[in-house]
Symmetry: D3
Subunit: 248 residues, 6 copies
Amino acid sequence: MLLHHSTWQEVDDYLTRSKAIVIPIGSTEQHGPTGLIGTDALCPEIISHEAQKDADILVGPTFNVGCAQHHLGFAGSMTLRPSTMIAAIHDWVSSLAVHGFERVLFFNGHGGNIATINAAFSEIYADRSLAGEASNRGPVKCKLDNWWDYKPVMDMCMKTYGKGHGSHATPSEVAVTQWAYPDSIKTAEVSPTIAPNGRFTDAEDYRNKFPDGRMGSDPTLANPEDGGKLVALSVTGLKSSFETFAAS
Amino acid sequence: MLLHHSTWQEVDDYLTRSKAIVIPIGSTEQHGPTGLIGTDALCPEIISHEAQKDADILVGPTFNVGCAQHHLGFAGSMTLRPSTMIAAIHDWVSSLAVHGFERVLFFNGHGGNIATINAAFSEIYADRSLAGEASNRGPVKCKLDNWWDYKPVMDMCMKTYGKGHGSHATPSEVAVTQWAYPDSIKTAEVSPTIAPNGRFTDAEDYRNKFPDGRMGSDPTLANPEDGGKLVALSVTGLKSSFETFAAS
Amino acid sequence: MLLHHSTWQEVDDYLTRSKAIVIPIGSTEQHGPTGLIGTDALCPEIISHEAQKDADILVGPTFNVGCAQHHLGFAGSMTLRPSTMIAAIHDWVSSLAVHGFERVLFFNGHGGNIATINAAFSEIYADRSLAGEASNRGPVKCKLDNWWDYKPVMDMCMKTYGKGHGSHATPSEVAVTQWAYPDSIKTAEVSPTIAPNGRFTDAEDYRNKFPDGRMGSDPTLANPEDGGKLVALSVTGLKSSFETFAAS
Amino acid sequence: MLLHHSTWQEVDDYLTRSKAIVIPIGSTEQHGPTGLIGTDALCPEIISHEAQKDADILVGPTFNVGCAQHHLGFAGSMTLRPSTMIAAIHDWVSSLAVHGFERVLFFNGHGGNIATINAAFSEIYADRSLAGEASNRGPVKCKLDNWWDYKPVMDMCMKTYGKGHGSHATPSEVAVTQWAYPDSIKTAEVSPTIAPNGRFTDAEDYRNKFPDGRMGSDPTLANPEDGGKLVALSVTGLKSSFETFAAS
Amino acid sequence: MLLHHSTWQEVDDYLTRSKAIVIPIGSTEQHGPTGLIGTDALCPEIISHEAQKDADILVGPTFNVGCAQHHLGFAGSMTLRPSTMIAAIHDWVSSLAVHGFERVLFFNGHGGNIATINAAFSEIYADRSLAGEASNRGPVKCKLDNWWDYKPVMDMCMKTYGKGHGSHATPSEVAVTQWAYPDSIKTAEVSPTIAPNGRFTDAEDYRNKFPDGRMGSDPTLANPEDGGKLVALSVTGLKSSFETFAAS
Amino acid sequence: MLLHHSTWQEVDDYLTRSKAIVIPIGSTEQHGPTGLIGTDALCPEIISHEAQKDADILVGPTFNVGCAQHHLGFAGSMTLRPSTMIAAIHDWVSSLAVHGFERVLFFNGHGGNIATINAAFSEIYADRSLAGEASNRGPVKCKLDNWWDYKPVMDMCMKTYGKGHGSHATPSEVAVTQWAYPDSIKTAEVSPTIAPNGRFTDAEDYRNKFPDGRMGSDPTLANPEDGGKLVALSVTGLKSSFETFAAS
């Protein structure tokens, strides 16, 4: 059940069955020569939309611009400052809490978001920890799952791509978008085959170290079929995680 | 050309042809008994995605949660505080300016966003007005178009729906989503046929005055065919507006 | 009754009769070769102070610096960032709500303030929409009236000034200040007689397009007598609007 | 020369003679049984407007709502949060700096503002201290004068009112407003003759300790004639202070 | 009793005896050729830690970076913006209020902090003044003591150092740190013997006027023995002030 | 070399040798029946102060209140909201950058800080990524090390404490403080011997799940001798990490 495709009465009905919701959250940033700029938002959107097709899971809108300051050296990348992102997540969760949602699972597609999402959770919890019974909001709980972090997903990544998986513009995320958007498959020659890896700070530093945008990956290994398999594995993980979280 | 379905090199190429981009912007809020909660984000997304199919227009990610505090009395509605929305739009535009974008057209689907989007534009311009040559950002210009405000669109709305058009959960916006998402067409009996109209303040006030969420409208007049016509009219308006703006 | 010229006991008494207050709100910005920099704050102040002379209306302090970033290319113009203005209006209204005021009518003199004032109203309402019964503030309602927007006022402007009325440094607002401050009437030759009109973004852009500060207007048409008539018409509009709002 | 009663060209001319400006700053808060709620804004406004009548001093708009949270227990009092006030002062000064103003003298009427005004100065200076040559703003200097702090003013207060002067709703400030607004002179019996004095925290605490709003004062000692003398003494102090500051 | 060296059960016990706590607060900024950069944080820390040795006083962590933008022209100086400092003090006090602390005595070592600390107190009180019974926090009271402001301390400073005491990098504060940290005593020749005094704005202005960092002082007068005496005098002042405040 | 015990000239000299600095960062929060409330700030302070004794490392002030909202159910715990902590870290780093520091190593003692510290780094980098050459600050790089994360430290923890190490109020951190502050060693009986483990959200939730404050640990295993060994191992790790970072 997609929030955007539902009426308010349908959400009212859903709330009689469950107080939990999934929010896909990603980023809008370069993904190397063959990866789509929307990859990190598209992957959790694709997977969560699949998951709700045969499970009673409500999926909210996709939070599609995240923390990507380090990618601003590449055209099309967009970022929120972490302080803005915290404020926005705070507002999203506070809105959902008004309706009685008590469990919000952020289903994430971008490693660079993890710190700020967790900081946002603390910001939200702090309201109630500081105010106690006088709080303006009920005790909503949040959870962060990365779509690639369920063990079968990561196992397949390691087995299929090995050391070419890397950490940015990975073949797995490219494969997921290829499966979902076959008309948007891009091809390019990459050199070196496996991109360099390492630490980075700001956009200039990132571009200097990773000139085509990839980090440690060979995204040419991606194909739509494997993408479909990864989606299926992650869907299973999400369903299970959601069920446990909703019942917690 | 969709930013989310492009690579950074493709955006680099686009920037040699144009410094302009469209950002669909809407809201996640109840739309009466038959309207989708995502209506205000979906309409500008649908129309702008259509527009870029045969025109050289770059469309960015959809800003999908806006100013909807007055709808929080209905399940599923989500809001940003205006101050949060200003910060987020500021970050989006500042990111695009890094890459050399100089014209950002916000293509809007929600009347309740207009004030805050315009306030955000002033916030962005103020940086440069206060700093002059010492500004941290180049002189990017922003524009706000509402998808329904092109004259042929509004003419068709008035002619087709007359006094049943109203101002929230209108048959025109419902029709657009019906055309794009025929599997999500909802039916319901509404009473009175045309909802009441009037002013409102907060969520409790809104719910008291507009008990099923509609304002002044009879959304049961909507059908997918008319939705398709409205999309086509708005696409024409957007293409023309974008071309003029990009050349300004 | 002017808040600034009253004691707290007099306000206590007023609150037994009415829960409504008027806040004049304007801007401090250039108004062309003959307009006063304070015009947009002075006009609503002049009119609201007149209105309270023979009606039981409480008028608060004038909010005298507003959104005027686009005028910073002309000496003496001052601006708040919209985010600052939202915070300030929030504090003003929250203060008034402590005393039991439930209706705050912002009587506005500057078109550039409209978006931000409306955004501020949403920010205020959002507190209560998000917190419901746990809100830290009672359900105060706000309203925005522009002094020139009452129909008889605008009719006189159109009839008296025609196409020379324009949209900034208009003869009507200049006339109002001439009537109230005859010692500060300025004269200058303007060329062209009617200034250019159009869109603008930041201060540099505005100054380039409107080199003497006027937009679309011929302020030399102003005289104090017409100013007095405009004040009288707007006073009537304000009294009526206030009465209706207070009773709503 | 009043900024609000000047044109931008007149300010341009002024800037060829001086880079200094006066900003009257006060508060909107209860002033006991006979004091006006606007007292703290009116006093610096009255005095600075007098001062510019025969001296080349530019006086800007009055910053009329300040830090008065402790007075919110009395009807009509209004406050900014200190963080809001800092943001607003920052914007005012930044605006003036755009035009080349280099000296901003805040002429203050409220003891409760002093801490926050000084904090705002540090906030403004910190921009440049942290950015150095890369600063977005030139090196503007700010100064705070309280209208009552010039020695001859305080001498007259002590001599005229003695221990009845107190610290809030003082006869001196009441006298200044009586001189300027003789139609708004209020009378009341006060008991005890001299109000209690002491420390306070929030609004509830203040109201409990100072039930009629006065602190340590007997404002019934005020009369318009003394008010006129105090204005004259403070005008002299302001002129001298401004001249020195402008030349610094 | 040091909060940092206690367990939560020990604090629970303390709260049965007292609702008051001391927070040492200072700054990290240059203190001339012989003064330690930590002087302003170390002095209140040293004195408050001494005071709790034989009195039932709970001392919290030291707030060690304060308002020091004007010292940024000298290596090692660090500052918070006043708005950041207000937010941080707000959070510290709000945290303590959760546990039932009702009196928070900020024991200060830096004149440049005074304005912002007082502004922070107003910010904290404003929460409750604006919300009344609906406040999210109980009515905590705050107090600011400067370690040097107890009369016997200042008397000794004047008697011992005379006009060489000055206002920054004073022999008294240097002496206190010499007594506590004899291994960190620094020596240098200073010229002129007594540094210049005066007003300042930003870091560049300060460095220009006070080239070795001192203001009006001759810190070579300091010795550890006098430091010990000053500590003892200030300890007595703090104990007495705390006792009175806790009982208020 | 301790910043707090140095003069500005000594820091000037240091900057000719190195552009790197260590900032100990921790938290003020309950640490179970025997752990000190200051544990998480004390551990990195102890270790970094040891490290600088025989290495040319500059150690700044300790950031001693961090993200601890979940511990507010236990007396004495203090927290910053993550948004406040980001602002404060931003100011600290910006200050250091003024002096030419280019590498800031945050040496952390609290797992709950990690997300927010990393978010703060992104906030800092975003300034420059968004502004490029027009940035107000040079390209400073930040790094986060947890004192327990160097492999030999963690190896000793696992070997010495095994499954009694847990994740909060661990015997290793208690041991470190016992070694440094033998006069503050606390004893208590704990039951169960090894505390429960699990996830948590706000303060109420944490207290319900972990009634004596410990998570998964048996802190009674701690002794000062092991604390000294852990300090030595972490000192070695910090020295090596700092050297590499400073040279990067």
